[in-house]
Subunit: 365 residues, 4 copies
């Protein structure tokens, strides 16, 4: 058993980490804390008192949750999951590693962007000590590097879906990608449990709210990942923009990537995208290439991934506009956060990806 | 008072027409019927028995709703609103006009597409007698023609939003439009009250369902309207694709049009879209150009249009990708259907657009 | 035209008052302010900037909203609506009347309870100067007194539904009421727009949350109103308890009153409740006695009252348990707050109840 | 490994059984079929094609789902779960047992009511051969009998919650129960996936719909279970009525039982219900006695049980009205159906109750 801890356990992602780790056969939950500096919320309580879904119990439910203490975490844990704000992670991750923690999996954006200048542009308030030796923890992109990483930067939720929808295009030949527009639709757990008026039920229900028509910060890690795979648009760079909307959903997100195709007049016809995608993900246990209408609902749809670590993808070729429509959907708290972090940690310790993550989606919910 | 009738009153659009006409100061509701051929549902009832929101009453609520009879409708009404399936409208509209009805406003797609070949491609099952002398009833596009029309084809709900988001681009000079991708998000009333498994509450709640990743039929009328205004993409045609998603919303829709900009290297900078849009719609009472963050929620958002005839629009220039983000939102049963039909009929009879349509949005709901 | 003002305009009830008054043919909106002491939110803005549903305009939308000034309100308005917290209303109402305002309609609970001791028990923090000469503003109970009132205390939303469901029982003879249990189900606008974790979309969606299993403050005004009508239970007092639940609804509430029947063995049989209720409300324009299954959905249901001033009621006799099931549903922001306040003000000024309130429900939404 | 089958796998309960059995360490899924006589839907498909949440796979996902064949089921399975309509179960259960199946767990109401006359009153269309030797499969009531049962009748979802909320009252002494009123609030999966207008998303969203103000069929099994525990009201019988509402929830239900207390004047005071309930359920792994405010949301709330087999209960004493408020909440597809069936089958085969059912609730969702 690997002894693990969760730091920053009071948010939605923290709760989800506790749920997954409590049921994991090889990770033993030994340490749970809240963010340092959380002020009035640092009164110690048990895990069961922290999240309403957990009832009293004699095991992990009875662990005391106090303010984060680096030494204590290092003594009790081989691996620590950080579900803290980026500013906090930027400090805690190196401190925990220095104190002897073997592996830190950080779920914040503190260490996702490798280029220091790009990091500063998108995250000017997240000061970190360079150079950073973190691995971007998307298993479908970086499996080999994850195996030996000490600091794993778990990807953003929208970024995970966007990257997985686009990655197989790296294998497309004979065509040019003119430009890429990403349209993301996301639920309310993506914003965490901070109090603000736009998060109120009365205000947030029934919306299609363009909260980031451009400039969403996940754009940076999407570009970084796609460039790493060699994706380019015909302008020589990577012309890619993203717009994100809040929709009336608690858990889940969907991303559509629209790619304009530029190609020679000869050989037009519908591209064989199904095969391309099936081949790209043939060995990935958590990417399901969906046939659009093989079920009750057109897919991919976040509704059919709830509670699971799956990312569902499908690719369409709209020949009328010579445009690719790439859709990906996932549960933002699982494959978009806690589940993906556990998957990466499984890989890091040589376990099968699926360990502790084999739950099928809960449907309908 | 103009005497009016509603044919096809049993659906959601029919109910909405009844609500608006019952409160209209210059239209008097004299005739209400259900579709011919509706089989088991043709038992006569009163308006109040047809829709649960209407209680008993001695006025319009007590009108008898029976199967449609063309002669009776023509005797009682100067103007008739058709909320019938396209196949039914294709027959009824000419019959009503022949029987002496002065104005028919058809809310189906039967008469929206002017070119017969294009109509047949998109609506192969809707046989109609050509030539069709119908006016596409979008006031912001065709105000003059509506004033003298006998047959008004009310636009589709997604098409209304898409066209209004894009129309002002006709005035943009010095740049080229590389391609247009439209992403629509729509509520469940857009599908009517037909029984199908994907429409069940348990199945339809919490979805982001790509029900039309390409090939949505409103694409045809969007192209037709934009071409009429002279919009072209740099390939010489109109490279435009649309993808539509069901989201967890009963009433309302949002459309984003993403336009890739191609232009000369000189003179780059953020385009002055706010002014362009404000000017384009300065005289239109039902198009509100919204400032993105001037309220509780980022806008445009269908949530702040519920129950009103407004279409809210906003335009952003994402300079990182040289991409325009044009967002429009409306209530699909009002500006997307019944309200727009009443607005067109107001124009046809020389009334102010706002007559009977001045209700402010219901918020929050 | 009666010149009116809205004090405390920034909340959901304030927004609804603005919507209704902006469309009212005999009330002219002349003054809009926020609560005194609202601290950081007292920067002056226009009505259009205060609520996202209202767009810019040259009329009432352009009124400046600043901090409340009693003298200014009194100079501009004959009648003032207070949508302020009870503590604020307790001060402002007498001050406004003293400054010359003709009529104050207070939507808070500050003046609902007549007995000073009962008021202190339920609202210990709401200090008010006794004696209070306020009329409980439920038209169906106090129409005559409202006609001459200077201070009208608009009823609570749950109380309105509960009282209207039970009032006709005052006419039942030959039976005894053993006890009354009220079960209320309410939407999120009932809690206002205060920031708290239980109000977050992610936390508040999908709940059936027993937020007041007993001790809800509306119990006090329900008792007061029923006693005023002479309702008693067989213990000689009024044995009545209420439990209230949050459900996943933005706007609307439903109340069920369960009444145990005690009666002589002779003459058992189903009670003719339909007639009793129809007779009791025969002259009330905003109480609809619904036939349970006369529409698409079993009724009463708040869904079929949205945006209207109707309270729908129905009464059932469960002969198996000799129990009455009395159900009432309404839109908590209209008949439960702003609409009822306007209705009372209509009565006060001798207008028809329906003036400015004739909108039919928006359905479905 | 016990070999098991699911008959009637196409509905929501069927899908949930597949999810739970696929992850069960001691039950091996060997047979899956649809209802006999389902007409057009009897085309064979795989499990993965039947439910959109399941992706393709080489294990249980690839099982063929055809029409039910009793002999085949008996050859392949020791235990069969029936998620069929009551009329179908009434035939299939005895046939399967006769064909050699060891244990049948029926999730329909066909065998819940023991008294033939009571069964005929409530289920006149469900003809069954008497006598029936079925055990009512509520573990908290009938654990011993379940251990040796061949036919287990899994309780109804509302009945499970209602019974668990009331069972501990059997131990209350010194007081009389005057009458019991149950108010149930339930989600849309409780109605299955039959097509009807009241089930449409547009119609079913945002409702509080009194679909069974009295006469709900679960009343019969609630009475049967409470009488079996000796519960009586002061009239000598069991004066109990239930009213049920649809609320805007997909999965989950909440039940409140309101019990009027009759007792001697001496010794009044708040009853120690917390202790009573904690003691009653001290050995039950799936009943959690909740402290009302020990978490983010007032409890019990179905939201904090989603996806788990827990039934949360809490009891309050409203001393103002001398009324008990007993609240229970659960996931209607798990503890209210599939989970409870698996729990009973665990007990039947001597496994721990929790086997395959240890998933913590998914929160928030």
């Amino acid at each position: 058993m690997i002894e693990v801890g969760v730091v920053g356990a009071s948010g939605f992602v923290g709760g989800e980490l506790l749920r997954l780790l409590a049921g994991h056969p090889e990770f033993a939950l030994r340490y749970v804390s809240r963010s340092v500096g959380a002020g009035s919320t640092t009164v110690a309580c048990t895990v069961a008192e922290l999240h309403p879904q957990f009832g009293p119990g004699k095991g992990w439910q009875s662990l005391t949750v106090g303010p984060t203490r680096v030494e204590e975490a290092a003594q009790r844990c081989a691996a620590v999951f950080l579900a803290t704000p980026a500013e906090v992670s930027a400090e805690l991750a190196p401190a925990l590693l220095a104190a002897g923690v073997e592996v830190v999996v950080d779920l914040s954006p503190a260490f996702r962007i490798q280029n220091p200048a790009v990091h500063r542009r998108w995250y000017p308030k997240v000061a970190r000590t360079e150079p950073v030796e973190a691995v971007y923890g998307l298993p479908e992109l970086n499996r080999a590097a994850i195996r030996t990483a000490r600091l794993i930067a778990a990807p953003g939720c929208l970024a995970t879906a966007a990257i997985l929808s686009l990655l197989p295009l790296g294998e497309l030949t004979g065509i040019g990608l003119g430009s890429i527009t990403i349209d993301g639709k996301t639920g309310s757990t993506g914003s965490g449990n901070k109090l603000r008026e736009t998060g109120l039920h009365a205000v947030r229900s029934g919306v299609v709210s363009p909260y980031a028509p451009f400039g969403h910060r996940h754009t940076a890690e999407i570009r970084q990942a796609l460039r790493a795979r060699g994706l380019r648009t015909t302008d020589g760079g990577l012309r890619l923009g993203m717009s994100v909307y809040s929709v009336d959903l608690v858990r889940g997100l969907s991303v559509a990537a629209y790619v304009m195709i530029e190609r020679e007049a000869a050989g037009r016809g519908r591209l064989a995208l199904d095969e391309l995608y099936a081949h790209a993900y043939r060995d990935e246990p958590f990417v399901r290439v969906r046939d659009w209408r093989d079920g009750r609902v057109p897919m991919p749809d976040p509704k059919v991934t709830v509670g699971s670590n799956y990312c569902d993808v499908a690719a369409f070729h709209d020949t009328d506009a010579d445009r690719l429509v790439l859709v990906a959907a996932l549960d933002n708290l699982v494959k978009g956060a806690a589940g993906q972090a556990v998957q990466a940690c499984n890989i890091r310790y040589g376990f099968a990806d699926e360990l502790g993550l084999s739950a099928q989606p809960l449907y309908p919910v």
